[in-house]
């Protein structure tokens, strides 16, 4: 798939809209996980917008591809994308984490809103993905299953049990995406529980490994397209993303992993995203 310049511009602007919504939601709630919601917002958007087979009229269409947000604390990013698709009303976004809201701090299964399953306790999503992939094969349903994992989340042993099962059952309809932003709750992944050499680990477990620069839109899309053509084994995309995304003071730090921005920080963060927005509108694109 080749993107026209206009299409690329629209996507970049959409993603920025989503990131701004994420910040607003978390700011309004005064709790949540900005760093890891911002990092993977582009991946979730591209999956739904460019890669996954979905029906925008019907989130429960039975041929749809399945997305599982294993790193459930990035819920605001998922909600914002689902609202862009029209599955969640935009006003609802700003009820995040409030009493009575469908939009809890972590996703709660809600087929009408497009939320496939509850997540938030880390380490469960890939096993669930294995189940969906096996079921799809039994049903001759040619859907793909996408599971977004945190890199810190890979500390969980259950992830590696699922990695083995994915290879054992040759689940070529299963695609894991790792948000390789390098930071978990207490610090960097390498200082808390070293993951490297990460690509080699997945390769040794029998998975096709694709590494992408997560801030390069074309590379992300190409990575997913390549996945579709590889048969006979499960695939993982290690996506090098940035915790905090474009918000300079949230980058590469655990400080905003589980902490909402205050008023001053929020204003500053929004301003940074708006500046990028202006540049894109002027035709300055940072991609490539």
């Amino acid at each position: 798939m080749t993107l026209s310049v206009a299409e690329e511009k629209r996507i970049l602007l959409d993603i920025l809209e989503i990131k701004k919504d994420v910040l607003k939601m978390i700011f309004q709630a005064q709790s949540g996980h900005p760093g890891g919601s911002l990092s993977c917002a582009n991946i979730i958007y591209l999956l739904y917008n460019n890669i996954m087979k979905i029906n925008r009229e019907d989130p429960q269409w039975n041929k749809r591809d399945i997305f599982i947000l294993s790193k459930g604390h990035a819920a605001p990013a998922l909600y914002a994308v689902l609202s862009k698709l029209g599955f969640i009303k935009r006003e609802k976004l700003f009820t995040l984490r409030q009493f009575g809201s469908d939009l809890q701090g972590h996703p709660v299964k809600n087929p009408k809103l497009g939320i496939e399953i509850s997540t938030g306790s880390l380490g469960m999503g890939l096993s669930i993905g294995v189940g969906c992939a096996l079921a799809a094969k039994l049903d001759n349903n040619d859907r793909m299953i996408y599971v977004l994992l945190g890199d810190g989340e890979l500390n969980e042993g259950s992830i590696w049990e699922a990695v083995m099962a994915g290879n054992h059952y040759k689940l070529d309809n299963l695609i894991a995406i790792i948000d390789r932003n390098g930071i978990q709750n207490d610090g960097s992944t390498e200082e808390i529980m070293a993951l490297e050499p990460l690509a080699e680990k997945w390769k040794a477990f029998g998975w096709e490994v694709i590494e992408t620069d997560g801030s390069n839109l074309r590379e992300i899309i190409q990575g997913f397209e390549r996945c579709k053509n590889i048969l006979g084994r499960p695939k993982v995309i290690i996506s090098y993303l940035i915790k905090g995304a474009e918000v300079s003071f949230m980058q590469h730090t655990q400080k905003y992993h589980g902490r909402a921005p205050n008023e001053e920080e929020f204003t500053l963060a929004l301003k940074e995203l708006e500046n990028i927005e202006k540049n894109i509108k002027r035709g300055i694109i940072y991609n490539d």
Binding site: A29, S31, G32, G72, R97, Q98, F99, G100, S101, Q104, G105, H106, V108, S118, T119, G120, S121, L122, G123, G152, E153, N155, E156, G157, Q184, N185, D186, G187, I192, M193, G258
Partner: protein, 312 residues
């Protein structure tokens, strides 16, 4: 009113303990800032082990430390530690190992929501032989409990909340394992609380006594396992009904444990206040407590029901 976050008390206690006892090691699963084990980590980096987001391996490692003569303290969020690593905890209890599991974020956690609430951990823990289960109401009680915990070679589970809680005990309070702590005497109805349940009982009682024109006895039972049946029965005997209060599911929770003891030893009418068949949701703590029935009106209603059943 003086309020304290029990997590801070816990974190500071660990530092003091670490200075005195070189066998103490602390393990956390990537939540050391939230649980406050980071204070120990900073002071004693060589005896602190961040095991990453891997609750099972964290517990397993603690078992290894325990059979090697160390005193491992495992911390994390209540639901992940007790839920994900349950069978490892079962083995710690099976072999009666000196493992101290002290977790935070029990009960309602606030915005994180239903996936993070710990409303089932007592059910999971209370069936385990050898395990001592403690729930403090304030920081004074917590310190006394922790002193007892590290004087006793046994597996422990201590369940801490998140947030600020008022002080209800005096500095000279004596924590006695298994013993009911009588906070107020009364003749008609006995409220037995644990953790926040006790605070709610204390807070609600003056109004309820006025409204229903009765006198209420309040017992704080911070020792959920073991419980000294004899003293408990002696304390409740003179009243005509018991209401239990817990920030936990009422199925197989604190109230259920008391129901067994009371029905077996001195049957009397009981009512149970706690979360009923729900995982809860996101939201502000006051709203959640109120919505799920941990409030004064609910206690009043249950006492009324008890008084009516007595007349029948």
């Amino acid at each position: 009113m003086i309020k304290a976050d029990l997590r801070d008390t816990f974190g500071e206690f660990l530092v003091k303990l670490g200075k005195k006892n070189y066998n103490v090691v602390v393990l956390d699963s990537d939540l050391s800032y939230s649980t406050r084990t980071n204070k120990f980590a900073k002071k004693f980096p060589s005896r602190f082990f961040n095991m990453g987001i891997a609750e099972q391996n964290t517990l397993g490692t603690a078992l290894g430390f325990a059979i090697s003569g160390k005193i491992p303290i495992v911390s994390g969020f209540s639901i992940f530690t007790t839920g994900r690593a349950w069978e490892f905890i079962r083995f710690a209890c099976h072999d009666n190992l000196n493992v101290k599991i002290i977790t935070t974020h029990s009960g309602f956690v606030g915005g994180d929501g239903s996936t993070h609430n710990a409303l089932e951990d007592l059910s999971l823990m209370s069936s385990l032989p050898n395990l001592i289960i403690l729930i403090p109401t304030d920081n004074i009680e917590l310190i006394k409990m922790l002193e007892f915990t590290f004087d006793t070679k046994n597996p422990f589970y201590i369940r801490l909340p998140r947030g600020y809680f008022p002080k209800i005990h005096d500095e000279d309070y004596e924590f006695l394992i298994g013993q009911p702590d009588i906070l107020k005497d009364g003749d008609d109805i006995c409220l037995i609380g644990t953790g926040y349940g006790t605070l709610l009982a204390l807070e609600s009682t003056p109004d309820i006594e006025k409204e229903l024109k009765i006198s209420i006895k309040i017992i704080n039972l911070s020792s959920v396992k073991p419980i000294n049946n004899k003293t408990l029965i002696k304390e409740i005997k003179k009243t005509s009904g018991v209401v239990t209060i817990e920030e936990h599911n009422i199925y197989c929770g604190f109230g259920s444990i008391l129901a067994r003891i009371i029905s077996e030893n001195y049957p009397m009418p009981m009512k149970f206040i706690g979360i009923n068949e729900s995982f809860g949701q996101s939201g502000n703590r006051e709203k959640l407590l109120n919505f799920y029935g941990l409030n004064k009106n609910k206690i009043t209603e249950q006492i009324r029901n008890l008084l009516l059943s007595r007349k029948r």
